[in-house]
């Protein structure tokens, strides 16, 4: 079987094509029918703006995954770092004539510096203690943003009313080629792709290996010559850099930042999302961002079938989290990767088996055991193609 025909390769090629052409062909006849159908049945509303938001969450969640998934440090208050980046960018855009790209990067660097600084006390805190400390960050964030007594922070941040920015416009040079929405999509998607590729490279470099060693065993890592203090703070700094850039892109796309934009619940949802998407995986971060972006629509849609389910959002998160932890320890990314390793014919077999009698057929199928990470899957891995 030539490499071109592997599901994985086909998947990547499709993804790249979709990302590049999405803002144009989402209005094409067949595709727009598909999108409308998707929206009315699943609640997933694939518009250019939603895809732009998705790009923002990809950056932020990739950063969180570097910290939590790779280096094993749990942050419940990542929204605070996003807020730092967002406010730096918003203030620059609001009060000075800074170009958007510079403002976004300034947000990233500013948040990175804050993250690096937070990294130092985190050296002494591990596990739940670190989680609590980072939770304190996000809980105190709104108060700090609104503070106007000792230091007049609210003068810069606009206090509770936040900062309003004018909506982003497509520059004159691309007039006729794309409208404002399409421009916003490309100018957000491009940095998101760059940041994602960068993260992919980082995780496959010495830094990434050091993070993983650190996560699996601090003592072991130290024995191997990994500088624990350096890499722990580096993880925080890097992750905060991503959060900051994401925050900058967030205000650029939303043209608004207020303390309400960065709630404690949002930060917890970040963590829930990356666990569902897949820890220690770049693909996992992307899937996490998809979950984060589309879950409100999906849960609202669910309410059509199961009444009041949209009032149980947090219970659903919890249940999903438990199901994912049991069935898919590597998250949705693990599932996708397993499927990606199969050849298209095998994938079809899984699909057909699933269609015939969804649960029993899947259960009986050896691939199910493989997918669910059941024991002994390694030994049987080779023969699954004929199993259907």
């Amino acid at each position: 079987m030539p490499a071109v025909l592997r599901t994985r390769t086909i998947g990547w090629a499709l993804l790249v094509l979709v990302l590049i052409f999405f803002p144009y062909f989402h209005t094409w006849w067949g595709f727009s029918w598909f999108l409308q159908h998707l929206e009315s049945t699943t609640g997933i509303n694939l518009t250019v703006f939603e895809m732009t938001s998705l790009a923002v969450w990809v950056v932020i969640l990739t950063g969180l995954n570097l910290l939590t998934g790779y280096s094993g440090q749990i942050s419940l208050g990542h929204g605070a770092l996003v807020a730092v980046g967002a406010y730096i960018a918003a203030i620059l855009l609001d009060r000075t004539a800074t170009p958007v790209a510079v403002a976004v990067l300034a947000g990233g660097v500013g948040a990175g510096a804050v993250g690096f600084a937070i990294g130092f006390p985190s050296l002494r805190l591990t596990g739940p203690y670190l989680a609590i400390a980072t939770l304190a960050l996000i809980v105190s964030m709104p108060q700090l943003l609104k503070h106007d007594d000792l230091i007049d922070i609210a003068r810069f941040t606009g206090g509770a009313s936040g900062i309003d920015l004018p909506t982003a416009h497509a520059p004159g040079s691309v007039e006729g080629l794309m409208d404002d929405r399409q421009w916003l999509y490309y100018s957000t998607m491009l940095p998101a792709v760059i940041m994602t590729v960068l993260a992919w490279n980082i995780t496959r470099s010495r830094i990434g290996r050091a993070f993983i060693a650190l996560r699996d065993s601090e003592i072991g890592a130290q024995q191997m010559g990994v500088n624990i203090a350096f890499y722990k703070t580096l993880a925080f700094g890097l992750s905060a850099l991503y959060a900051g850039v994401g925050g900058g892109l967030f205000v650029y796309t939303q043209d608004f930042a207020s303390p309400e934009s960065f709630s404690t619940f949002q930060s917890i949802t970040f963590l829930v999302s990356i666990v569902i998407g897949g820890l220690a995986s770049i693909l996992g971060s992307v899937l996490a961002a998809a979950f984060f972006t589309f879950q409100t629509g999906v849960i609202a849609q669910l309410a059509d079938y199961l009444p009041a389910v949209d009032r149980l959002r947090w219970a659903i998160y919890g249940a999903t989290l438990i199901v994912v932890m049991i069935l898919l320890p590597a998250g949705a990314a693990g599932l996708v990767q397993r499927l990606g390793r199969l050849r298209p014919s095998e994938l079809l077999a899984v699909w057909q088996a699933g269609l015939r009698s969804p649960i029993s057929a899947l259960r009986a199928h050896p691939i199910f055991e493989r997918l669910s990470g059941g024991r002994g899957d390694d030994g049987r891995g080779g023969g699954t193609g004929t199993g259907a």
Partner: protein, 438 residues
């Protein structure tokens, strides 16, 4: 250490490269972009009193048989109680008009409701969906200062009528944007009136303030302070709380220890409830309590009573709509009827009354716009509203090209026992906001 250093160096290089690349990639566009947004924001906000010619006569969302309106409301999350009462109030009245009058000028009104959970970024998504996918004619009663801020500029730029925003924030109506109308009176004005009442009723009082630590609390406190000017009332202590905190025991205790003889609160239902319950029940402190009109509803009364009927009696507030318990009032009776018929699941409350009042004003404006309904004519119609008193309003609504705030009068209301049940009952004269300013 050598490894760490070289990694740092590499990271720095990557970063510099990224900065250079991005700056280069985006620089030429941002130059135009920068020149673009700022002046346009000024240009596109027509000078008050000028003509409306730059608002297109756009009929998106209007057909011969239908007018499609959209709203963003919190239906889930902490602010869900508001959306879940305002929506039935509005929807029931709209259904009532569609049924009994065949809609407005032969067009039935459809209201599309989107839940934003009071989260500004969600508001951005749902409002774009309403405008770009559902093609609504106008946004009606978008709720919340922060959520609505997120879409305010977007609506202005796309010249979508932004009608009767459910917030008291002045930033949406001052300076006047021709396409945007506010609704709630702002907290500074309300605070002034409450301050005036305190100065008059407790001339030598020592006032303790309990305020939420945000614009709502601060605006209210500033208003009260202005209202007290020229009187002997002294603000003896100001206690604040954060929105997530609901137990006010320590704040109330500090107010009592400071020697307050009258307490005013800019607090939300739970905190206002806790204030009254703690003062009356725990501390047995019979201090006069004045609260913001934001909490003038049954829910807060129940929270104030905290299981002991009568606890809330005597609490004073400012109301700008008829409280649900107004006795023998035609408008209120009709509201209960409409709600029972068209939204039987909803419990009538002051919030459903609010919903109906907004819907009534919207219907009035659509009627005034006439057969030739478009985005320009609806703004013109809105600005032409004079002396319109909705069935549940206390006073008349006046709008003009320079005044986009509908509510201008209110009345003080006090918790009294009506038919064995506590309720806010209006008393005294109607007070005009304008007149309290000087």
């Amino acid at each position: 250490m050598k490894t760490s250093k070289s990694i740092m160096l590499r990271l720095l290089l990557v970063l510099v490269a990224a900065v250079a690349f991005l700056a280069f990639a985006c620089n030429d566009d941002e130059d135009d972009g920068d020149g673009g947004p700022e002046p346009t924001a000024g240009d596109e906000t027509p000078v008050a009193g000028g003509d409306l010619s730059d608002i297109p006569e756009d009929t998106t969302g209007v057909t011969d048989t239908e007018i499609k309106l959209g709203t963003h409301m919190p239906l889930t999350g902490i602010a869900g109680i508001y959306g879940n009462a305002i929506v039935p109030g509005m929807q029931a009245y709209i259904d009532f008009i569609n049924d009994t009058e065949g809609g407005v000028n032969g067009r039935k009104i459809t209201l599309l409701v989107e839940d934003d959970a009071f989260n500004p970024s969600q508001t951005n998504s749902v409002v774009r969906k309403l405008v770009e996918q559902d093609g609504v004619f106008a946004i009606l009663s978008g709720l919340g200062t922060a959520p609505h801020s997120a879409v305010f500029e977007y609506l202005i730029e796309n010249k979508i009528p932004d009608l009767f925003t459910a917030t008291g924030a002045t930033k949406f109506t001052e300076p006047v944007t021709r396409t945007a109308f506010g609704y709630n009176p702002n907290y500074i004005e309300e605070g002034q009136a409450l301050g005036g009442y305190i100065a008059e009723t407790y001339p030598d009082g020592k006032l303790g303030l309990l305020i939420q630590n945000d614009d709502f609390g601060r605006d209210g406190a500033a208003g009260v302070e202005t209202g007290l000017e020229g009187s002997n009332v002294e603000i003896i202590s100001t206690e604040t709380y954060e929105a997530e905190q609901t137990d006010m025991t320590s704040q109330v205790q500090r107010l009592q220890n400071a020697g307050a003889t009258v307490v005013a609160a800019y607090a939300l239902p739970r905190q206002a409830g806790s204030l009254v319950a703690v003062a009356r029940q725990q501390l047995e402190w019979d201090v006069p309590i004045i609260v913001s009109g934001v909490v003038a509803d049954q829910l807060t009364i129940a929270l104030m009573n905290n299981g002991v009927p009568g606890t809330s009696v005597g609490v004073v507030t400012a109301a700008y709509l008829k409280p649900l318990e107004t006795l023998n009032d035609e408008g209120i009776e009709k509201h209960k009827e409409i709600l029972a018929q068209y939204a039987p699941d909803a419990t009538p409350s002051n919030i459903t009354v609010y919903g109906q009042s907004v819907a009534e004003l919207a219907v009035e404006v659509l009627k005034r716009a006439g057969q030739d309904l478009n985005r320009r004519s609806v703004i013109e119609a809105g600005e032409s509203v004079r002396d319109f008193t909705c069935s549940v309003c206390l006073g008349a609504i006046n709008l003009s090209a320079t005044d986009h705030r509908p509510i201008q009068v209110f009345q003080l209301a006090e918790v009294r026992t009506v038919d064995g049940k506590e309720a806010f009952v209006p008393f005294g004269e109607l007070i005009s906001y304008e007149s309290t300013e000087d």
